[in-house]
């Protein structure tokens, strides 16, 4: 069967464009609505990076292990390399580009990473930032143990993790101060 499938075959919410064989999808990324045409096999990570030119989302392993590609899908952190762009049709996505305020002011998590030297080369950083942003929304006051557990699913080949754990705790402090 051809790529993109046969529109007549009950593709439900996913509609193939009959002339291109591509799927016309809509993604709200960092508050901006994008209409984009993708083949079924396009990964969400590649759609963000190649089609939408948002290269902040990094791709390390493409099999779910490193976490560099983590984005927020309707507020929930997911691996964008393990999702098809067409499956994300209609959803709201936050990438690392969407964390800072419109005027460029860094978010609490970003500032904490900067202050605590939570990054060196920065390759893993977008995944940590998006994941920690969501994790702190769920648990605003993590213990050092919980902070360590929180970052356990993301790989960093530079920092040795100590400063990343420090950054999580610092980010929690900054967020609490902002809310107070």
């Amino acid at each position: 069967m051809a790529s993109g499938g046969d529109g007549a075959m009950g593709s439900g919410g996913a509609v193939t464009n009959p002339t291109t064989g591509l799927f016309d999808i809509r993604l709200t990324v960092n508050g901006t609505l994008h209409a984009v045409s993708v083949p079924a096999r396009r990964l969400l990570s590649d759609c963000l990076r190649h089609d939408l030119r948002l290269t902040g989302t990094h791709v390390g392993c493409e099999h779910g292990v490193c976490g560099a590609c983590t984005v927020l899908l309707d507020g929930v952190p997911v691996r964008s390399c393990l999702m098809l762009a067409v499956s994300a049709d209609g959803s709201a996505i936050t990438t690392v580009e969407g964390l800072a305020a419109a005027d460029g002011t860094l978010s609490a998590v970003q500032r904490a990473f900067k202050d605590s030297h939570g990054l060196q080369c920065g390759f893993c950083t977008p995944g940590f930032l998006t994941m920690i942003t969501a994790a702190l929304a769920e648990n605003p006051d993590p213990t050092p143990e919980e902070a360590r557990e929180m970052v356990g699913g993301n790989l960093c080949r530079c920092t040795g993790y100590q400063n990343i754990v420090t950054a999580v705790l610092r980010a929690a402090e900054l967020t609490r101060a902002e809310r107070a």
């Binding site: 593709s11 439900g12 079924a40 096999r41 990964l43 779910g64 691996r79 393990l82 999702m83």
Partner: protein, 285 residues
């Protein structure tokens, strides 16, 4: 590291999904959370003709905890099952084991039913289903059938799901009163696939004596291995000895056969000690 080409459908009702799967036959493949399937596509280890994405079937995203069982729908994510307090109180082993399934971000997307159907020998939930004697409900245009866990797992990455079938839910029996359970595993890093793991249940009789001891093991064979360890009378040492005698381990890149046999003893001891304490706590409380 990019998926091969495939056709794609995203049905909006179970009936539509079954019709599409039925018309595709062996060419069709269900896409649930994608946390196992998409890596296989990216690595080109799988090249299905057509994916049937079930993520629009919101009606299958349920966890129902009844008096005698927990029923988990095909679209319930690991994270949702783990967070479900009612499910946890009806069958505590679910949450105990789910905490070891991958990392939180993977659990946000991966489905519990998907991990059972995927039948990875290292899957925690296959061992849990096998130990508890749960079952899987499968639907196709020909109707429905229910397959008990002891007949569902056929081998490594092989479950009794036929072309055209959708696993709609799994049924997990409740933990009876005066029984306890525990889950333990050994992995290189927290969240990694286990080198060896065990789930155990201990049932006490009314006078507090040991009525039944069972354990299920992951990562020791192509499918979950379930042992009745009642003759250990609940003594962790003798249970560990029995288990190491009965389980045939093999070596791979993660562990030698000898090391894995050693781990079978370690996880048996730990799981049994914890399950016994859990049973006594529940019987007293």
């Amino acid at each position: 590291m990019k998926p091969p080409e495939f056709g794609y459908s995203r049905p909006e009702s179970v009936a539509e999904a079954l019709a599409v799967l039925g018309s595709l036959g062996p060419d069709g493949k269900v896409l649930a959370g994608g946390q196992s399937l998409v890596p296989l596509l990216n690595l080109r280890l799988a090249s299905p003709g057509h994916l049937v994405d079930i993520n629009a079937l919101a009606g299958l995203g349920y966890v129902r905890a009844g008096r005698g069982e927990v029923v988990i729908g095909a679209l319930a994510r690991h994270a949702q099952v783990l967070a479900d307090q009612a499910a946890r109180s009806v069958q505590p082993l679910l949450a105990m084991a789910l905490a070891h399934v991958a990392h939180p971000v993977i659990r946000n997307r991966g489905t519990t039913v998907g991990s059972i159907v995927h039948a990875d020998p290292a899957s925690e939930m296959t061992a849990v289903l096998a130990l508890l004697g749960g079952s899987v409900r499968l639907a196709s245009t020909d109707g429905e059938r229910v397959v008990a866990a002891d007949r569902f797992f056929l081998g490594s990455f092989e479950a009794d799901v036929r072309p055209g079938e959708l696993a709609t839910e799994v049924v997990v029996p409740a933990l009876p009163p005066r029984a306890g359970c525990a889950f333990t595993e050994i992995s290189r890093r927290r969240g990694d696939y286990a080198i060896c793991g065990a789930a155990a249940t201990v049932a006490l009789s009314t006078d507090g004596s040991i009525e039944r001891v069972r354990a299920a093991y992951l990562s020791v064979g192509p499918a979950p291995v379930v042992l009745d360890l009642t003759e250990s009378a609940g003594d962790p040492e003798s249970a560990a000895r029995l288990a190491t005698e009965r389980i045939e381990t093999s070596g791979d890149i993660h562990a030698t056969a000898d090391y894995r046999r050693h781990l079978v003893g370690v996880v048996t001891r730990r799981a049994l000690t914890a399950a016994l304490a859990h049973a006594r706590g529940r019987a007293d409380g």
